[in-house]
């Protein structure tokens, strides 16, 4: 009986320990392109549909393509799952931007390793994200093409690692830094297998259900390689409803996943080479009985 009483008391104390961690730094598990420090709750599923249209302006945009609506730069559908409150994993399939990859499958695991907490003095939240990409696209016969893969399985694979550091400064303002590393097993002669990029993001919440996000990734490039590469910039508008997260964004990055938006972005905002994108996510739990 005493033990039960003790358990009940401890449980009550546990219930009162919840108010310390800072929550809602971002509204979703994604910022614009990047992962955030938010995780799905334990046993929570999320189905994501993400879409990027073609260039709004520039030579491939304008009225002729209904400002990009005629084209789909990339489409990703994914199922993601909260293994615990701090660990999640996901499996997605992207159309791929076709330069060079199409039919791209990605699998990732993300873990929040630090949680901003006022009481114990932890100033930031941090998450580690590891992603593996595999393309099952048809091999291109041209041996000069990266998509030739020389018939080797391993050449279809790429990886990325991301550390997301975030801080919620106030109820409305959150900031994040995202050092990111991308490794591709096989690249073109003028490209680099390993890339390092530093992302930064600012989230301004207008109210409980709407927010504006700005995100920028700066790639640390060797000037002799990757001369056509650009840095990705994204501007996102977020609408959160009960169980849904609707995200509209404008970005020069064509593709989803670090592999594409860090390593393969070549578009320039100033030339009108940015596009409208959106993502819709729906959270749910699967009833087991």
């Amino acid at each position: 009986m005493k033990n039960l009483g003790l358990i009940a008391v401890l449980f009550s104390i546990g219930q009162f320990g919840y108010a310390q961690d800072v929550t809602g730094t971002f509204n979703s598990t994604r910022i614009v392109n990047s992962h955030s420090t938010e995780m799905l709750g334990k046993k929570m599923w999320e189905y994501r549909i993400e879409h990027r249209f073609g260039d709004v302006a520039g030579s491939n945009g304008g009225a002729q393509t209904a400002f990009g609506f005629d084209n789909a730069a990339d489409i990703r559908m994914a199922m993601e799952y909260g293994i615990s409150d701090k660990i999640m994993a996901g499996l997605g399939r992207s159309k791929g931007i076709g330069r060079p990859y199409t039919s791209l499958v990605d699998g990732f695991i993300a873990a929040r390793i630090l949680t901003q907490n006022k009481e114990n003095g932890m100033p930031i939240s941090a998450a580690l994200v590891g992603t593996m990409y595999y393309t099952y696209m048809k091999q291109i016969s041209d041996p000069q093409s990266v998509a030739n893969f020389e018939g080797k399985f391993s050449r279809r694979i790429a990886y990325s690692s991301q550390l997301v550091l975030s801080r919620k400064f106030s109820d409305r303002i959150s900031f994040a830094l995202m050092p990111t590393y991308v490794h591709r097993n096989y690249v073109a002669q003028d490209d680099l297998n390993d890339l390092v990029s530093l992302g930064a993001a600012l989230n301004v919440k207008i109210n409980k259900s709407m927010g504006v996000i700005l995100e920028y990734f700066y790639n640390f490039e060797n000037e002799n390689f990757r001369t056509t590469a650009t840095n990705s910039i994204g501007l996102g508008f977020e609408f959160v409803t009960n169980g849904h997260n609707f995200h509209i964004n404008f970005t020069n990055a064509r593709g989803f996943g670090e592999l594409q938006y860090v390593a393969l972005t070549q578009e320039d905002w100033l030339k009108g080479q940015f596009r409208l994108g959106f993502s819709i996510s729906r959270n749910f739990k699967i009833k087991k009985s």
């Binding site: 809602g24 046993k43 009960n242």
Partner: protein
């Protein structure tokens, strides 16, 4: 002569011993022993009828498993994991395990909040499990409006009401026999004792000298004792407060409102712990409610507290309503007063 003296002494001792047997355990009962007596024992001794779920005793191991099921919704022992009762809720999302009133007969929501604040316990929509074994009726009053014939059996049966809660209230499944048994053993273990109710000195004296009481006196004492604790919690559904009656927090006690927000609203909504609507102790959450304060929608505090939401396919997490007996209209105004304050933070 010696023989006569010897037999007289023996006869006297037997008489004395018989007398003490006749008086029974009650003569030797001191106040501390009385306090530790379960209400079931006392009721039986006073000629009370056995409850429908009467259990002579509990098994500590089964009671422990029952608590595990209540806290976690499933049992985990080594590699064995039982199937979760519900994918969405555990019992303690809506029910406390501790006492919620200083007086076991009290049901007043004002006292309930005062007790919760004093003892730092959550302020939840469901009745506490503490003393549930000693209750006779469940899903009382207006719950029939929500559950209809589902509670026909449950109204007077603790095991049946547990099943209704598991299957319907928690959007889960019926309990297996061993699960129900374990939870019943936990409830039996946490039944009320005399120390938990407020008896007068005379009532205690009467109990200590039970054998002296006539049948009528026992019946009367049983009635008095049964009035000292809640045998069934009232449950009155309320309509959403009409716009004209809303004070929007004017004159409300923001300190009490903060306790309600932190220990009712955030208990489930903080970072979407139980449900999708994520709330925080921030001004944006407060503004969300203030913006909708005049509405009759789910985002109006006046509406959602009184009506709750319903489980539906694909959205089985729902919010149970707070009956008039669990949260008063004034407490809703206290909550609004705090939200006004939070929005200005």
């Amino acid at each position: 002569m010696n023989k006569i003296l010897f037999f007289c002494t023996i006869a006297f001792l037997i008489l004395l011993f018989s007398f003490s047997i006749e008086r029974g355990e009650w003569t030797s009962v001191n106040e501390n022993t009385l306090d530790e007596m379960s209400l079931d024992e006392v009721r039986m001794a006073l000629g009370g009828e056995k409850s429908e779920h009467y259990m002579a005793d509990y098994n500590p191991e089964k009671a422990r498993i029952g608590l595990e099921l209540i806290l976690n919704g499933k049992r985990k022992k080594g590699l064995f994991k039982s199937k979760a009762i519900s994918s969405y809720f555990v019992c303690t999302d809506c029910h406390n395990l501790n006492a919620e009133f200083s007086d076991a007969a009290d049901q007043n929501p004002v006292d309930r909040l005062d007790y919760a604040r004093k003892n730092k316990i959550p302020f939840l929509p469901g009745s506490t499990f503490w003393g549930i074994y000693n209750r006779k009726t469940f899903y009382n009053d207006d719950y029939v409006k929500k559950y209809g014939e589902l509670i026909d059996k449950a109204k007077n049966s603790l095991p049946a009401s547990i099943q209704v809660c598991a299957k319907y209230c928690s959007s889960g499944r019926n309990l297996k026999d061993w699960e129900l048994e374990a939870i019943m053993h936990y409830f039996k273990q946490t039944e009320l004792h005399l120390k938990d109710i407020r008896l007068t000195f005379d009532q205690k004296q009467s109990l200590a000298n039970l054998q002296k009481l006539s049948t009528e006196e026992k019946k009367e004492l049983l009635k008095e004792i049964e009035s000292k604790y809640t045998s069934g919690y009232s449950a009155h559904f309320m309509e959403t407060m009409p716009r004209d009656d809303r004070k929007y927090g004017a004159g409300g006690d923001a300190e009490k409102g903060k306790y309600i927000y932190d220990n009712s609203c955030l208990f489930c909504h903080l970072d979407g712990r139980v449900t999708y609507l994520k709330l925080d102790n921030d001004k944006l959450s407060a503004k969300l409610f203030l913006k909708n304060k005049t509405n009759y929608s789910d985002l109006s505090i006046y509406q959602i507290i009184r009506q709750g939401t319903y489980a539906m396919p694909g959205r089985n997490q729902y919010m149970p309503r707070f009956t008039k007996d669990k949260m008063s209209d004034q407490q809703i105004e206290d909550l609004m007063a705090y939200l006004n304050q939070l929005a200005e933070k």
